[in-house]
Symmetry: C4
């Protein structure tokens, strides 16, 4: 919707998943790094304890699906499920229907995630492909959303399309080459970027506090927003670096503690490892 919440809500969804993935992949990475450095838990990319629970119950897929449906319902409370104005026989409320289309594709991606977690027979890679598709649809709709808009508005949305296009490209590459850690990281960063940029767009086009309207034709403002986009990237990089460092040190501390416990106990680390490995298969 063309107002501040209409940009803040999808932005928050992207931020939520960006944060989720930041933590998820940082833990995965700390494990791999730890495994390589300490010689134990080598190349185990699945969590134990709460991680195992998260693997059984498809929390991520459920969140995507629920958020998607919630977004649709919330927007349709305004549009009353009508696409064609009964009086003029013209299309109306197209903004809302376009947002709904986007939510629908993310919900669809969530359903595929749930199916995969339930070990349903789905083609492998469909989770990445459907995610890439959801981002592509978002990018496509925003790209054709610009018709008849001006200066700053166009540029703000183009940068959003750029972020969405990057997400789509990276997700597509993940389907092509799964198992890397770098691609999910880049996808996480791009998703966070979309989230913060949605907030930024809402903030500029529909200022929540009156008295700060932006001049949509100003050359200075247009120069500023492309720079602000880069600053968002910078902030996200710094944030992710902090999270990765903290997670790494927590993991290292736990590993050390676990190593000390194991020295006192009757089981060697290798036996325990072999045990947990065989359970995972």
């Amino acid at each position: 919707m063309g107002n501040f919440p209409g940009h803040a809500i999808p932005g928050s969804f992207f931020l939520f998943f960006g944060l989720w993935w930041t933590i998820r992949y940082s833990v995965m990475w700390a494990r791999r790094m730890g495994g390589r450095n300490t010689g134990s838990a080598a190349e185990v990319c699945c969590n134990n304890g709460p991680g195992r629970f998260l693997k059984r119950v498809p929390v991520e897929g459920l969140c995507k699906t629920m958020f998607g449906i919630a977004g649709i319902v919330e927007e349709q409370l305004v549009a009353h499920w009508t696409l064609i104005d009964p009086r003029t026989q013209q299309f109306h409320e197209l903004d809302i229907w376009q947002h709904n289309t986007m939510y629908l594709f993310f919900a669809l991606n969530g359903i595929f995630d749930i199916l995969i977690a339930m070990r349903a027979p789905v083609p492998s890679g469909i989770d990445y492909v459907s995610l890439s598709l959801a981002y592509s649809v978002e990018g496509l709709l925003f790209f054709y959303h610009l018709h008849g808009r001006i200066g700053l508005d166009v540029r703000l949305h183009r940068l959003l399309v750029l972020a969405a296009g990057l997400c789509a490209a990276v997700s597509g590459l993940e389907a092509w080459k799964p198992g890397t850690l770098l691609l999910p990281m880049v996808r996480t960063a791009c998703t966070l970027l979309q989230g913060t940029w949605f907030w930024q767009v809402g903030w500029i086009l529909y200022p929540p506090f009156p008295g700060h309207e932006w001049d949509l034709e100003s050359h200075e403002n247009m120069m500023f927003v492309s720079m602000a986009f880069c600053w968002h990237i910078l902030g996200i990089l710094l944030f992710m670096s902090v999270v990765y460092t903290v997670v790494y040190h927590i993991y290292q501390a736990k590993e050390k503690q676990r190593g000390t416990e194991l020295e006192l106990g009757p089981l060697s680390s290798h036996m325990l490892q072999a045990h947990s490995d065989s359970e995972l298969d």
Copy 2:
């Protein structure tokens, strides 16, 4: 041709091949999945029974070639095989000749398919490259088809170019990395998308039922068509999901039935499998 059948006929061709491929690749996928789950028929990607016949007689290539030639003949009944107007000495009927050029490239792809099925000495990968070329030529012609058109018309054809470009890209990737299942699926989806979108374009630009003319300059209509394109994608995804699920369950049921028969018979499953494998080579 600039009328409804001129868009519905190529659309139907694309839908035909899209449906064909949907079934073909769903069977192939069900076999692979079944093979992985039940331990038999592992990685056999060729059909038995009717499938073997389809492999010997290049039905797909023959269809492509015949449809291509039929399309050319049908359009030339209007154009009378003249490219230059004898009175004005100018080019005329260029729409028809452009459509013919497209048909010709698909017919050419069909001929390569036939040659490959006949085990003629052709460079490996030429089937994918010629298919990619056919889609590229289609995209190129439509891209340069837009000269002097307006608003909605341009957007409808750009989305068609996008679908054709995706098909061309995916077919090219298949030549690069054959043997995956995901790429043929994406190609199938894009081909179905082209088919339904051809119908949609015909429906909007040349409404078959009078009284539903679309305003080609309306902002609402332009917003709607980009969303409708996404809905087509959604519908195709749902359709393919249903087909894949049905095919998978039919295959599973047949496998179970076959398994029961084998338990009663004198031959073990493994011996039968080895037998059929050796026949296929």
Copy 3:
């Protein structure tokens, strides 16, 4: 130069190399196919007899270099090696200097080919990269060549840029993944396409026979040229198919003849093969 020979001469150069490569790669392919079918000469991608001579003396590189230098000298006979008009202190004859720049990069690629053939220490893949660079420079110059031109002229040159860009992309991919047969074939086809299209552009913009001037603003002509581009592709495909078929059958006939001779002679085919293999290393 802005006249008919100025387009026919580079076109002829591209046609020459396209024909050269068509024959070269068709022989290579027939060998591989023959090797796979008859069980001898497996995976030998270098010629014997005249082929071996061609491998020692870098004919291809020498041709590229000489043609490049010849093109430069021929064009500079008109420009008298002056880039800045001494009277107006402005740049002049920029068309000629741009053509010279293109020739220079192809000559450079020829020099790298010669160095590789002479087993000089050059980074591997530099031949493909420098070829890709030559095509890119050509595409870049033609792309920025369009400033201030109109309708048909722009479209003709854009299609030329498209062909050059394809050549550059395929050559780049060859550096990435050498040893395939499909990529050189595609490169050959694109080079032939550039050659014939150069002739076509010269024919349309500077008709060699008076009385056939083209209307550069006509919508029909613009529609025609994009279709003509596809017809060029079609013609090249048919031509290459014929050459490949003829070469294949000649090779098969020779193999059969050689096979008969070998049966009568004292040496077995395998020994001979091993002998020639060891010589090649």
Copy 4:
């Protein structure tokens, strides 16, 4: 900054790193070539002596970081760290802040290089990704920098964006496929190209010697600059060829000298090699 030094300073930074990498990768390549030809030091891509020192102390990362910070400080001496003009409440000095953003990302890349050299736990490939990001940010800012500019100015900056985009693409490919020699060479060439082109842009837009102002609307000048860009590429290629040849011959001479010494000494070349190999691990 919109003056000659504002283009010459970043240009010099790029030239510095381009030269650095030219020498570094030429040594690496000479080693590999030497290793392949003489049978010793096979596939050792790390330097001994000074090279080992350079590997311990992250000279490259430190340079990047210091240059980045120096650039920021130098520019902020003019801008006084104010982004919003206190009188007009509008953004001002945006050029300087945009340049600072670019410097910042290169500094960030330098910090990652230092972390990697210090064997800090960072995700592998982050050095290439952050370098690619720095080039991308540069390209993005320059791309959106063109608003409201004219003819020659736009073209000069577009070519800069092209060079930056090439650098970003090649760095990204290096993260995808590390360990090649060709990709770093291409990256080096593109970085040198950026360096010389920055100087060229400064020279044209802000001539350091009065009386040589360029007409920004002249068709001839626009034709010339696209050709000049190609000449820069040519010059860089020739320069790199000379450096590679010189380094190769120096390395060969040293190898020969070392070989002679070894013949007189008590240790065989192979033992020495095995020794230094084991030290490196």
